[in-house]
């Protein structure tokens, strides 16, 4: 009988269950399982740092070793969230420093982190091992100095895409000579030059170093030195990939790459000079990940590299790859799972770049394992989308950005409703979708009807009426995150689906047609939601119910209204407080 198993046995069994979903399920079986599970949970993921408070998390899970938090809404990446909005890591780090002396891993995304917090991390957690700061801001290289100086057992320091106040490169020299545990270092976002000799010595005394992502300031001529010290590298991000005409640099580089038998992933390539690309040909056959999206090398050179990478699973590239390069990709890389094509020009189509829907169609045809797509382009057709959908029903993530808003099917001039409809109809496991182009309420009807596994949906410049939003909120059973900008969606759909919002992580709506009156009603009806109206200009008249809101962010929470809101956020609580 299960209920007669002693606690220790259950705890041992639970130790094999690591996924968050499974752990959550275990905790719901019965009270005793809940109790046993919470004492032996070692890692927690908090998708919205305001959905729960540090205190609540600490009370429930007293023995955590790893915490992951996300702060600002996704649209913050595109400058839609004003400064000072929030996402401060401070209170979390303060409370965890007291509650979890044995905490080993902290992963933060889109949060504001201070140097003081970094210093606290470096001193409070004696066995600290992993720090990942993804798209974070608020700290400087001084904070990094503290981490380097004090974290004796650090394995991973990853600053990916964070905004760091770059005071100097000296921080890297603060890793003591006795420090040898480094496995992963990503400093690609830093502008200033670190002392190369300190970097070289660090690499030389880190036998377990598997991932090294350098910043642009590390010259190509010095890369071979590092590679000779770390031939066991699995992931490498180069610095600047050019060096004038230096045959000695080229030869040195080729030789160094030859020695890297474990290398599976490459990135970096700033200012890439194509004449140095053949130096890495020797590792191409083993490459599974290639990120060329910061280099402007043209299609023929890209094609030459890809042609040598039959095991490529993930490719990130600029639209310089063009249709011709994508055709080559479809022929050479049968194991491709993820493709991201970024724009090289943000506004007008570059006449010298021929990237159309054809490239994506080719890849969908030639790459049977393709699951995840991010594609920026200037034209699309329903027939192409239908073809892609039929070719690749195994797609799980489809993000298409046609750069000019409201662009119709370029062949028929119709909206792209049936094209995206085909995507959601055929790709039954689609969990993430981003729409673009000319779209009517129709596409949302298709999405509501078919996209049952969809968890995240991004909508921009689409739809005709509230019916569109209503289809999504009432039909998409698995929806967790919905972000909308510049769509004619308003009060009716929102208020008809209030209960749905409590089943989702968050809803973002900006430049839509939601009124302050509806926000008040929503707040009143749903006390478990935080309804935050962003009013940057101060032009919102909350006494006038029909006044439209500029930006709205709604999320479920067990922590009540947050206490760190800037003055430009309106909530029902503040409204009531002002009335008193």
């Amino acid at each position: 009988m299960v209920y007669s198993l002693p606690e220790e046995v259950l705890e041992h069994v639970f130790s094999f269950i690591t996924s968050d979903k499974d752990r959550n399920a275990v905790s719901l079986v019965c009270k005793s399982w809940y109790e046993i599970e919470r004492w032996c949970r070692r890692k927690v993921f908090v998708g919205n740092c305001y959905a729960v408070s540090p205190g609540i998390m600490i009370r429930r899970f007293p023995e955590l070793r790893a915490v992951e938090l996300k702060g600002k809404p996704h649209f913050a990446d595109f400058n839609l969230v004003p400064d000072g909005w929030g996402g401060y890591a401070c209170s979390w780090i303060d409370e965890m420093s007291r509650a979890y002396p044995w905490l080993e891993e902290i992963r933060l995304k889109r949060m504001v982190v201070s140097d003081e917090s970094l210093e606290l991390i470096s001193t409070a957690f004696k066995n600290f091992k992993v720090l990942v700061l993804s798209s974070c801001e608020g700290f400087s290289t001084d904070g990094l100095s503290a981490i380097a100086s004090n974290c004796r057992n650090l394995k991973e320091l990853d600053l990916r895409e964070s905004e760091v106040m770059d005071l100097s490169g000296r921080w890297l020299s603060h890793f003591p000579d006795t420090f040898t545990s480094l496995e992963s270092l990503n400093i690609s976002c830093l502008g200033s030059e670190v002392s190369f000799s300190a970097l070289e010595r660090l690499v030389a005394r880190s036998p377990n170093l598997k991932t090294l992502r350098l910043n642009r300031a590390v010259p190509l001529g010095k890369l071979s030195t590092l590679l000779h010290q770390a031939p066991q590298l699995v992931e490498l991000g180069t610095g600047a990939y050019s060096s004038g005409i230096r045959s000695d640099v080229y030869t040195g580089l080729s030789k160094a790459f030859l020695g890297c038998k474990e290398l599976k992933g490459l990135s970096g390539f700033w200012d890439a000079d194509p004449s140095y690309l053949p130096a890495l040909y020797s590792v191409c056959s083993r490459l599974t990940t290639l990120n060329l999206s910061y280099s402007t090398i043209r299609s023929p050179d890209i094609t030459k590299v890809i042609g040598q990478c039959p095991n490529l699973q993930r490719l990130w590239v600029l639209d310089h790859i063009e249709d011709s390069g994508l055709n080559a990709l479809a022929l050479s890389c049968k194991n491709l799972q993820e493709l991201r094509v970024f724009p090289s020009d943000l506004y007008a189509a570059d006449v010298n770049v021929t990237l159309t829907e054809q490239g994506l169609v080719s890849v969908s045809q030639g790459c049977p394992k393709l699951q995840s797509v991010l594609y920026f382009c200037h034209q699309m057709s329903n027939s192409a989308l239908i073809t892609i959908a039929k070719n690749r029903p195994n797609l799980t993530c489809f993000r298409l950005c046609i750069i000019e808003p409201r662009t119709p099917d370029y062949l028929t001039h119709e909206p792209l409703d049936i094209g995206f409809g085909a995507i959601v109809k055929h790709c039954k496991n689609l969990n993430r979708l981003s729409l673009s182009g000319l779209l009517t309420d129709r596409v949302f009807e298709y999405i509501g009807t078919h996209a049952k596994k969809l968890e995240m949906l991004s909508i921009a410049f689409a739809g005709d009426s509230d019916l569109g939003l209503h289809h999504v909120l009432s039909g998409c059973e698995s929806l967790k995150k919905l972000e909308i900008r510049d769509c004619p969606f308003g009060d009716t759909a929102l208020l008809a689906n209030v209960a749905k919002l409590a089943t989702m992580r968050s809803l973002w709506m900006s430049s839509c047609a939601v009124s302050i009156g509806a926000c008040k009603i929503l707040s009143q009806k749903m006390p478990m939601l935080n309804v935050e109206v962003i009013d940057e200009n101060g032009s919102l008249d909350s006494r006038l119910d029909s006044c439209l809101v500029e930006k709205l962010y709604v999320y479920r929470t067990v922590a009540g209204p947050r206490s760190d809101m800037p003055g430009y956020i309106w909530t029902m609580d503040r409204e009531s407080a002002n009335r008193i």
């Binding site: 400058n79 700033w270 019916l467």
Partner: protein
């Protein structure tokens, strides 16, 4: 699909501006791409993006990448080099990163025998580093790595 309790309004097709007939005193701000091309209420708090005629945060490229994409290429020549290079000025935060990148472009080491100079909008050749970085990026037309005599 549940339509009970909704009222018939949700199924009615409507023409005209969304948000009901009210509108109130606040002017309806439709952030339509083409409206902004008309340049009317670009000051509505969304003025972060300096480019006129474009919606804020569109296309959805994250700021980190935008800095790498926005092209401000200028030509760079080096005394004695057989061909010129181009460098993207917008990818740098200041002079020190920039000068280092210039040196890397031509494989120049620490003992650099070259001084970077630039041609400004008046056609004069100036020493790199005198004016604030932002001003420099706006006025620099081309660069030259001049060999120190």
């Amino acid at each position: 699909m549940a339509t009970e309790g909704l009222g018939l309004e949700i199924t009615e097709l409507r023409l005209g501006l969304p948000g009901g007939g009210g509108g109130g005193e606040k002017k309806e701000k439709k952030r339509v791409f083409f409206d902004i091309l008309g340049g009317d209420d670009g000051g509505g708090g969304d003025g972060k993006n300096g480019n006129t005629g474009v919606a804020v945060g569109w296309p959805p490229v994250c700021s980190y990448r935008k800095r790498a994409i926005i092209k401000m290429y200028v030509k760079v020549s080096m005394d004695g080099a057989p061909f010129l290079r181009k460098i993207d000025m917008s990818g740098f935060k200041g002079y020190s990163d920039f000068v280092r990148a210039l040196e890397n472009l031509f494989g120049l080491g620490d003992e650099c025998e070259y001084t970077p100079i630039y041609e400004d909008e008046d056609g004069d050749w100036m020493l790199v580093g005198d004016v604030p970085w932002e001003m420099f990026t706006e006025t620099c037309k081309r660069l030259r790595m001049k060999k120190r005599v």
